[in-house]
Symmetry: C2
Subunit: 404 residues, 2 copies
């Protein structure tokens, strides 16, 4: 088999951990597989480097920031390749520009456009272990780029797609994807497998173990991804293409997201073009609006509520206030003590009454629903932040049961 | 003017120091010059990285070692370019492979073969400040290479030669080249200028401020080099092509070298081919023999003495002992309590009696000379190590006088 393994920052967080990773890589090759390894920077290193940059400038030049932080992965690949060579294995490191992981020029958040496979494939066929720096690439002008936080996952999945690997193993410090955050919900259980689409919807769970863009990549190229722990040998969670049996499970997971702010515009005259007038300036400011709800009232005016990430809330509010006279609204309110709680599952497509069951479960605990939004395989509600953990447990009980 | 500036590890040893360097670079550009800057790793960084490698393996893979340690300069160039951009100057960093500093594949001690100048020259002509990583290059197979300790000096001089710079300024933590080590000889004075050949002979003084290979480069391409301090604005020492007036100075500097071991083979039958038989195995072991002296005695046997660096002494001794039976010598002695003291000056070529004056000065203090070796512009003697400082002061007094 052709295996791509990716080790995150904590997995290579010390010299001892790097030696452990080398043993695991070596064992995979001893089992007869061809192995390409993608590694992140040692944990803490990227933050250490960014702190240096911040001492130079509050807004460090983005091109130079990528030159700076890409050294983190460069150190890791060199040390891991050394460890493998010391154990007697033919291994060598490749940086983003050496592989030729071609990206656009969006420094700090570059997107992979193409991966050269010739050198990789020929090395793997010769039995060499190739240790590839995650998170980094090179643009058309030979500048170093980085893919943004968590980008090593994307590197690994993209490499796996490019060389048509049989599996992409993502080693991390948790042992898989859970049906809820185990710190909130003791009944949460590890999922054996999950579809790409469910994983995308489980963003707030998934983001902790897997970068969302890597899931999009895995879905597009149908890369089998195995999320597992580098601290044990247990099976983790497989991300796979959806199959008919997966619809039997109504709800795969319950997630919560506290990074939400809610803005309500009260009593705005309900005229065509209102939403466009409101959301165009916000979009121009690169603020991502999540949920939008509009309630028409009888007097021809409406209340319009939407949510944005907390970090963007003040900017969004300023944009709204700037056009308040034009909108003719009575006022605007603003809240950050809210949470979004979601249930996700392929089975929602074929099972009726899922939303009703969700709302009943919350009502039974006296939890008021402020907003609702649905997709084909997800239902999200916005509630008072103080009920977050309770809501997650109640919904997990209702759909996933008390026992594993 | 086109100016190449090189800043060493202590000059960029902290964020504050990097900001100071940025100011100095900016001032040079404000004065109307085109500026390319070469920087070393922040002081301590290369050792920190090598210590990581040593924890992985006692003899880390050389290719991966270069991948590892080259991150030191990568961090420095990114931070300096950021600082310059923050000050409003158009600046960007280039790594060895981005410039295309093409080297051979001798990892850890690579030699520069060619430097691409097109991108550099076009950036300089546009008024950009180019910040170049010292110490590193790239081989024909796109592997990262390093030039060995002090290699950033060589990078700077090679860049200056390639772009035909008007001056290569080497900024360091001392303010120039001195006529002797000021810690040994309080009368030592800063040299205003010195020829390339004298600088090469003043190895033990020069090595502290300038890597010897960079001097060879400067000589070959006649690059004017200005060695000066990054902590003040004083003029330092100019390395220049020799001119007739320089022969007026008989002795430019006095140096001492304690890294010497002396091996003497006693009473070896004096037959043709003796030296070849002795030194061939030592050369095969990559040991550099410095001085060799052979005294024929009347009974047809000879005493043969030579010096090697202290670190190679045990290996050299083992080689000698292995061939002792073949040589038919009476015995071998070994000493490490010796020092080499030298005087260097272009004027020796035209001034007679310099050696005699040197020997008299030492004799007057009762310092016995164990070995003598001379070149066109240098006289070296090996003496008892305990007289090292005294010998330097005595010779400085004799040739360079008490007053600056």
């Amino acid at each position: 088999m052709v295996v791509v393994q990716k080790y995150g920052g904590t997995s290579v967080g010390s010299i001892e951990r790097i030696k452990e990773v080398a043993k695991r890589v070596a064992a995979t090759r001893d089992a007869g597989h061809q192995v390409a390894v993608v590694v992140s920077a040692m944990s803490g290193e990227t933050n250490r480097l960014l702190a240096l940059a911040k001492q130079i400038s509050p807004h460090p030049d983005e091109r130079e920031c990528d030159v700076l932080v890409s050294t983190g992965e460069q150190v890791s690949v060199a040390l891991l390749a050394m460890a493998l060579k010391y154990m007697g294995y033919p291994a060598f490191s490749l940086l983003g520009h050496q592989v030729q992981i071609a990206t656009d020029s969006a420094f700090g958040r570059a997107r992979i456009k193409h991966i050269e496979t010739e050198r990789l494939l020929s090395a793997l066929q010769k039995g060499h272990i190739v240790v590839i720096a995650g998170f980094q690439g090179v643009d058309a002008e030979d500048n170093i780029t980085t893919l943004g936080r968590g980008g090593s996952d994307t590197t690994a999945v993209a490499i796996a797609a490019a060389i048509k690997a049989d599996v992409c193993e993502i080693y991390t410090d948790v042992d898989g994807v859970y049906s809820a955050d185990p710190r909130i919900c003791p009944q949460a259980r590890k999922l054996q497998r999950i579809s790409y689409d469910e994983m995308l919807e489980l963003a707030s769970l998934g983001a902790k173990v897997l970068q969302i863009r890597s899931v999009e990549f895995a879905k597009r190229y149908q890369v089998p991804v195995h999320v597992r722990s580098s601290f044990c040998h247990d099976e983790g969670t497989w991300l796979v293409q959806e199959d008919p049996s997966m619809e039997d499970v109504v709800v795969s997971g319950v997630t919560s997201d506290l990074d939400q702010a809610k803005i309500t515009i009260q009593r705005v005259p309900d005229r065509p073009g209102l939403a466009a007038k409101l959301f165009t300036p916000i979009a121009e400011d690169n603020i991502v609006v999540d949920m939008i709800i509009q309630n028409a009232s009888e007097d021809g005016s409406t209340d319009l509520t939407f949510t944005v990430p907390k970090g963007d809330a003040q900017r969004a509010l300023a944009r709204v206030q700037a056009i308040m006279p034009e909108l003719g609204a009575r006022g605007v309110t603003f809240a950050t003590d809210v949470a979004k709680v979601s249930i996700v599952g392929l089975g929602m497509r074929s099972h009726a009454g899922v939303a009703a069951r969700m709302f009943q479960a919350l009502a039974k605990e006296g939890i008021n629903i402020q907003m609702i939004s649905t997709s084909e395989i997800k239902i999200s509600v916005v509630i008072d932040a103080k009920y977050t953990e309770l809501a997650v447990r109640v919904l997990h009980d209702a759909f996933l049961g008390q026992t594993g």
